[in-house]
């Protein structure tokens, strides 16, 4: 049991690279094998992925208000050059 916990800790440092797909293949195999056996680590990986996803999706919906852009262009003396 204790041995298993250490294994989790050791592998968990790689999950960031794992979700980015930039993990080295050897480690990837090892991690995926571990994930198939360890519910806890699987939850950590899934919720980590989801965390990044939600941030990306929410941010993609945020647009700069048009008056902010108008003031920026005015400040740069570019207001007459918009298409």
């Amino acid at each position: 049991m204790e041995k298993n916990k250490n294994h989790c800790e050791e592998l968990i440092t790689s999950i960031s690279e794992y979700v980015d797909g930039s993990i080295n293949p050897q480690l990837c195999l090892e991690l995926e094998k571990h994930l198939s056996e360890c519910d806890n680590c699987r939850v950590v990986v899934n919720t980590l992925k989801k965390t990044i996803d939600i941030y990306r999706q929410q941010s993609a919906r945020e647009k700069m208000p048009s008056d902010v852009k108008n003031r920026l262009l005015a400040r740069l003396h570019l207001e007459d050059y918009r298409e």
Partner: protein
């Protein structure tokens, strides 16, 4: 990051101060720069200041831009520096008000994990304004060195290499910070969604 949909920007025209090309630069990157500043500062007024300062400085410095990094990386770097300067100023103000103000950047270990699987919540829960407010709150709680990396890599979707270039860090350093930022945010969101689930199941009884 925004990919250039139409023609790529003409660097020579930009450097010669062509206002049409400058306007295109603004149109292409102002959304990203504003979003970055807003995430860094959590204040629309400050974000607008940073946005304006970034483009004023960029247009002024463009003739000396040597193209060693991409234009966008270069703009991001200016915006990050402007944001950090504002944050420092704010901290100074706070420090003057409270003498024993201590920054909470303790090196916490990565041991205690929340193990609730909240991925299965309905998608629309993740897209509410309440959730967004929580996401913003948690980004603000990250120490600056983790916040900048997370914003560039995971919100603005720069590569590890571009993030490293922008912040003048090694790629290894970026990866380490990114890992810690992601793990912290995951931890906080797990707590948040655990409460959400509890409230909603109680409500239904």
């Amino acid at each position: 990051m925004v990919e250039l949909q139409a023609e790529p920007l003409n660097l020579e025209a930009l450097q010669n101060g062509d206002p049409n090309e400058q306007t295109r630069l603004v149109e292409l990157y102002s959304d990203c720069i504003y979003r970055l500043a807003l995430k860094m500062l959590a204040n629309t007024h400050d974000a607008e200041d940073v946005l304006q300062e970034t483009f004023i400085k960029a247009l002024k410095a463009l003739p000396n831009f040597e193209g060693r990094s991409s234009l966008s990386t270069w703009l991001y770097r200016i915006a990050i520096n402007e944001s950090l300067m504002l944050l420092r100023k704010r901290k100074l103000e706070v420090a003057i008000q409270e003498d024993d103000f201590v920054d909470g950047e303790n090196e916490d270990s990565i041991e205690a994990y929340q193990l609730l699987d909240w991925c299965c919540l309905p998608e629309d829960v993740f897209m509410t304004n309440e959730t967004r407010a929580e996401l913003d709150r948690q980004i603000q709680k990250l120490p600056e060195n983790l916040r900048t990396v997370f914003i560039l890599r995971d919100i603005e979707a720069l590569s590890i290499k571009e993030t490293a270039e922008t912040l003048e860090l090694s790629e290894t350093n970026v990866k380490t910070r990114l890992f810690r930022a992601r793990l912290k945010l995951r931890e906080e969101l797990s707590t948040y969604f655990a409460e959400f689930i509890e409230e909603n199941t109680n409500g239904k009884k």
